[in-house]
């Protein structure tokens, strides 16, 4: 993309362990490049908020329609695990913020360490999530192996059942022992929200690993730390969503 008249701007490396950064050809200044990318990323984060927003709207809608179902459903989740996971994510958000800070101040080793700690946090989060899902399967509240079995209708009695929702301990009942309306709905929403969130955790961890590759090569320093910053923002967003998911799902108000 080199041609007459245009010389790309180069940001020098602050030290021998770093490499310089060349500003993309269509930007006149590094500031322009930085701000453009950052604005673009904030816009992307806004779309993520709205994407999750649809799920939250559905949550509130049905929480309003079937309050008892949601209350009892929430009691089936282990709030202690939820609280631990919340703390893990908050800690990892902190390590990510520190990672970005280290990149801003050209501290290569510390950037590496903090990014690695963040990935460890992501891993702990997903492992705990796995055990929670496993418990849901065992209790018949969301039987993952049967999730694609469809809605089974007994054609003689004309009653339907969901293979993924068997409620083996008969917990989705009201105080008189009568089944609550649409007990499955809480768990459907729980799994959908946490699974999409979990997917973001995995993607975020992948992005951090990718950034660590660049850190190792010395590409990010005080002059150019944009990718670290953006991935950091993404990771904080994942944390942000969980901050709302935790009280809504584990401590249903």
């Amino acid at each position: 993309m080199s041609h007459d008249g245009h010389h790309s701007v180069v940001i020098p490396a602050p030290g021998p362990e770093f490499v310089p950064h060349t500003v993309a050809h269509h930007f006149d200044t590094p500031v322009q490049e930085f701000q453009a990318a950052k604005l673009g990323f904030w816009l992307f984060l806004a779309t993520e908020i709205l994407l999750f927003g649809g799920l939250f709207a559905a949550y509130f809608y049905y929480h309003d329609l079937y309050p008892e179902t949601f209350k009892v459903g929430g009691q089936q989740l282990d709030w202690k695990l939820g609280a631990i996971n919340t703390s893990v994510l908050l800690l990892s958000s902190w390590t990510m913020a520190m990672g970005v800070r280290s990149a801003q101040t050209s501290q290569k080793q510390k950037t590496m360490m903090f990014c690695a700690l963040t990935v460890v946090g992501a891993a702990i989060f997903m492992v705990i999530k796995f055990f929670e899902y496993k418990a849901k399967t065992e209790h018949g509240l969301f039987v993952f192996p049967h999730m694609f079995d469809g809605y089974q209708v007994d054609t003689t009695t004309m009653t339907g059942s969901l293979p993924w929702f068997t409620d083996v301990h008969n917990v989705m009942v009201d105080s008189t022992g009568a089944p609550l309306p649409h007990g499955h709905l809480f768990f459907a929403i729980y799994v959908t929200m946490t699974a999409i969130h979990g997917l973001h955790v995995i993607i975020g961890a992948g992005l951090i690993l990718w950034v660590m590759k660049g850190v190792a090569k010395g590409r990010f320093h005080a002059g150019y730390y944009l990718p670290v910053d953006l991935v950091g923002l993404y990771w904080h967003l994942v944390d942000l969503i969980w901050i709302f998911l935790f009280p809504l799902l584990y401590l249903v108000p």
């Binding site: 694609f148 079995d149 469809g150 809605y151 089974q152 209708v153 054609t155 003689t156 004309m158 339907g160």
Partner: protein, 369 residues
């Protein structure tokens, strides 16, 4: 992966553009019998047959406003194009004005006032249409929508009617709308009423029919294959005629009368899917080589047909017992050609009494050849 297609979908599986034949059910559909309603004096709307005259009033008011603005815009446009046409390539504009604040205020404020009038008028009318008066709620019908037919339950009569409904003139009526499967919409153009029918809850609609006559009732919310065949007729009759319960025509005192009654049930409930001319449609035809009954001398006997029961193919005779089971529990034995398209709702005794079922079978027998 098991997609949730086993219940209620009754959508025939037809490869795109593969089957260029017409739907056989059309020929017998009630639509063919429909008599067009009159139009009003401007020829734009069907003649109003209810008390909701504010719909017409606002419609024509808005229409007039639209025509005024359209003519205004068109006039200025055409005048400018003729008068200020560029004749030489370097001709400058006759004026370089970039704004005119009074003019801009005028064309912001005047439309604003006009649309606020429209809003208030429309909302007042809408309140009228959604607030059910006492008199109407005491005359509550139930309209049950299913793919693809309408069934009506009357306030003071045990019999239902299908594909047709009778109303008393000048008596406010409320319809309680329920759906058995997907979204439908209850739409009577001449009465100016429309309401979606939503599965899982009741919707209501009310009006006062003021003109005697027959009116269209359409399904206005897309509901699948035979959406356009989901038609019913509204008969507005005098109080004397209404007292005779004209929808109650069921008579099985003789086999011939039973067959006639069966035929009318067929037209209301079955004709959207089952043909009686031997052409296969969304469901097996009742007549023809793969039909139900055949003539054996002067006796009418059931034909043999291939069915799938619990996944196994077997041959059965289409006799009364088989037909009764197929209506009460349609998914028990599936006709082999349609085994993958399991698509019929069960007709329990609440929908089709034993006597009615026998009448339908009586009608089926008249199709034997």
């Amino acid at each position: 992966m098991n997609l949730p297609t086993s219940f209620p979908p009754r959508i025939e599986e037809t490869p795109v553009l593969a089957q260029l034949i017409q739907d056989p059910a059309k020929a017998v559909n009630a639509i063919a019998r429909a008599k067009p309603p009159e139009l009003d004096e401007y020829g734009q709307l069907p003649k109003l047959a209810s008390t909701f005259d504010h719909v017409d009033g606002l419609f024509y008011f808005t229409y007039a406003v639209c025509i005024f603005f359209f003519v205004l815009i068109l006039g200025v446009l055409l005048f400018s194009v003729v008068k200020y046409r560029r004749k030489t390539f370097d001709q400058p504009a006759a004026s370089n004005s970039t704004h005119n604040t009074p003019l801009e205020v005028v064309w912001t404020v005047i439309p604003l006032i006009i649309v606020m009038i429209m809003f208030a008028w429309g909302f007042k009318g809408c309140l009228d249409m959604t607030t059910v008066p006492q008199a109407a709620s005491q005359n509550t019908y139930k309209a049950t929508a299913a793919q693809w037919n309408w069934t009506f339950t009357y306030p003071n009569h045990p019999e239902k009617s299908r594909g047709e409904v009778w109303l008393e003139v000048n008596k406010p009526v409320q319809f309680l709308l329920e759906s058995e499967d997907v979204l439908h919409a209850f739409y009577i153009p001449s009465m100016r009423v429309k309401r979606d029918v939503i599965p899982g809850r009741f919707q209501t609609v009310w009006f006062t029919p003021t003109q005697l006559g027959d009116y269209h009732l359409f399904c206005a919310e897309y509901c699948g294959d035979s959406h356009s065949l989901m038609y019913a007729q509204v008969h507005v009759v005098t109080a004397e005629e209404f007292a005779k319960a004209p929808w109650y025509t069921f008579d099985d005192s003789t086999p011939a009368k039973a067959a006639a009654s069966g035929e009318s049930i067929y037209k209301g409930q079955c004709s959207a899917c089952h043909s009686v001319n031997g052409v296969a449609g969304a469901a097996p035809s009742w007549a023809g080589d793969k039909g139900l009954f055949k003539k054996d001398g002067d006796k009418v006997v059931g034909r043999e047909r291939q069915v799938v029961e619990n996944g196994a193919t077997k041959t059965v005779v289409a006799d009364e017992a088989y037909i009764r089971e197929s209506i009460r529990m349609p998914l028990a034995k599936l006709v082999a050609d349609y085994a993958t398209k399991a698509n019929m709702n069960a007709f329990g005794p609440d929908k089709l009494s034993d006597r009615e079922l026998n009448a339908v079978i009586e009608y089926m027998k008249t199709l034997a050849k």
